[in-house]
């Protein structure tokens, strides 16, 4: 039940969208800082063992969200399974890579940086930054910066996953928990007088439920 309580308390119905926006903001900043053509975050969907585009900035933004591919393919796949960051400075014309890349990114990049999104002991997904300016040679400083973004993205991805799990819990409870969450939302939006009346009603309900479950003032003395 702790999941349920947390879900209701956090107003899970709205938070998922907020975390998605946070993730989107992170890829936008990563793209801007590196001066790159695109940046994206992939979530590892454990149930299907696939990588899913969760946020995209720059090239491919808007079209790629929700697209999926197997977790063992592409550079993102390497990075996920080895849990090692990887930078490709120059891609020669390898048709196999080009096709694979085009399928998974919508265009063929000349270079890319990819880093695993690790949170506690889980590998949640991958952050990629594609096509930095050619004149800027890659250095370990950039790897460090990429690591900082990855840390941020991993936290956002973790929050997003939790919000989704919470929503799934709400939806599973035959609508009861969802009804409670809606009630909490309405209460927050209500006029002060309405809220006061509702508060008294809820207190009465709480007392009623407490009494019917056998709890009484006597028990606590």
């Amino acid at each position: 039940m702790s999941d349920l309580r947390a879900a209701v308390a956090a107003g899970a119905l709205g938070s998922e969208e907020n975390y998605r926006e946070l993730l989107q903001a992170i890829v936008e900043v990563a793209r801007a800082i590196f001066g790159a053509r695109a940046s994206s975050v992939f979530l590892h969907d454990e149930s299907t063992d696939e990588l899913v585009f969760e946020a995209v900035a720059g090239e491919g933004a808007g079209e790629l969200i929700g697209q999926r591919f197997p977790s063992s393919t592409g550079v993102a796949g390497w990075v996920l399974v080895t849990r090692q960051p990887l930078v490709i400075d120059e891609l020669e014309q390898d048709p196999r890579f080009a096709r694979e890349a085009a399928e998974s990114t919508g265009f063929v990049p000349k270079g890319l940086m990819a880093v695993p999104l690790l949170h506690e002991e889980r590998a949640l997904g991958v952050l990629e930054v594609l096509d930095r300016p050619q004149q800027a040679a890659f250095s370990l400083k950039e790897m460090e910066l990429l690591g900082l973004f990855a840390n941020e993205a991993a936290i956002a991805l973790d929050l997003l996953q939790r919000a989704r799990e919470a929503r799934a819990v709400l939806e599973e409870q035959d609508g009861q928990a969802a009804a409670l969450a809606r009630l909490a939302e309405r209460l927050a939006e209500a006029e002060p007088e309405q809220r006061e009346a509702a508060q008294r009603l809820l207190e009465a309900l709480e007392a009623f439920l407490g009494a019917s479950s056998g709890l009484s003032l006597d028990d606590s003395l």
């Binding site: 796949g77 080895t82 849990r83 090692q84 990887l86 400075d89 891609l91 002991e121």
Partner: protein, 276 residues
């Protein structure tokens, strides 16, 4: 309990008057130089195992493999080790093999494929592959990968220690982020991070572990699928540089234990006195 060395030698204690029996089969010079350690070495006679995504057979930068197997999970959850007919599914293992071959052209290269069949279940496959590789008695095992799952840490630790006592050197990629992952954090392995110099034989000892050595890991030309090459960066590629240097040393000094080998690496590191 298995005794890994010569069974005629004392295993658990040293009786009076037996010091002669454990004389060390390595002539140590007054000063360990790179020339003594691996000058003119080609890696001949040393076996190096690439525990990774497989290796593309016949890639010009890799050449012949002495063996290639794939570790896979069967439908009923058992692990099977079979001849690997598929080669490399993503390119990572081929890249590592090419780096080892470039520095140590005459090593015997072996591939143990533990990646490529998806992310799920990759932990047990990795452990099974490492166990198998240690049982084969390879001299050096290159692990440009890690796991963050704590449930595997204890078993990996036991495997790493068992390799250490069986004279199999485990060379493992470190993380360049403050992440708890394994096996690179264990002191029985040689852990590797990247430096930015373009010299493939430049390596540094880190006096502030857990990352113990830094090797070339930025802007490395690596073997890529389909016989090609690309320029790439990452600790994944620093690791096979150290694995290759270990092979060069072991080729000249086959009796070194992993403890002694790490000491030779330390003494010949660019920032220690080795230089060249």
């Amino acid at each position: 309990m298995e005794h890994f060395g010569d069974p005629s030698l004392p295993a658990w204690s040293l009786p009076a008057g037996s010091a002669e029996r454990i004389a060390i089969g390595v002539e140590w010079p007054e000063r360990v130089t790179r020339d003594w350690a691996f000058g003119d070495s080609t890696g001949e006679g040393v076996s190096v195992c690439i525990l990774d995504s497989g290796v593309e057979r016949g890639h010009p930068l890799v050449g012949e493999l002495e063996g290639a197997v794939a570790v896979m999970k069967t439908e009923d959850g058992r692990l099977e080790v079979n001849e690997d007919a598929e080669g490399d599914l993503c390119g990572h293992g081929t890249a590592c093999a090419g780096i080892v071959r470039a520095l140590a052209p005459k090593v015997g290269l072996h591939s143990v494929r533990v990646l490529g069949a998806g992310f799920k279940g990759s932990g047990p496959v990795l452990l099974g592959g490492l166990r198998w590789a240690i049982e084969q008695g390879f001299d050096v095992i290159n692990m440009s990968l890690s796991t963050t799952k704590r449930q595997f840490a204890e078993l990996l630790h036991e495997l790493a220690d068992s390799a250490y006592f069986r004279r199999t050197v485990l060379v493992a990629s470190a993380h360049n982020m403050p992440v708890e992952s394994y096996p690179w954090r264990f002191s029985s392995v040689i852990s590797v991070g990247s430096h930015e110099e373009q010299d493939s034989l430049a390596f540094f000892y880190n006096p502030a572990p857990p990352v113990e050595f830094f090797a070339r890991g930025v802007g490395v030309e690596i073997a890529w699928l389909g016989g090609g090459t690309i320029r790439s960066s990452g600790n994944s590629f620093a690791t096979p540089h150290i694995a290759a240097i270990c092979a060069l040393i072991l080729s000249k000094h086959p009796n070194l234990t992993p403890f002694q080998l790490k000491n030779v690496l330390y003494l010949t590191a660019n920032n220690v006195g080795g230089g060249r």
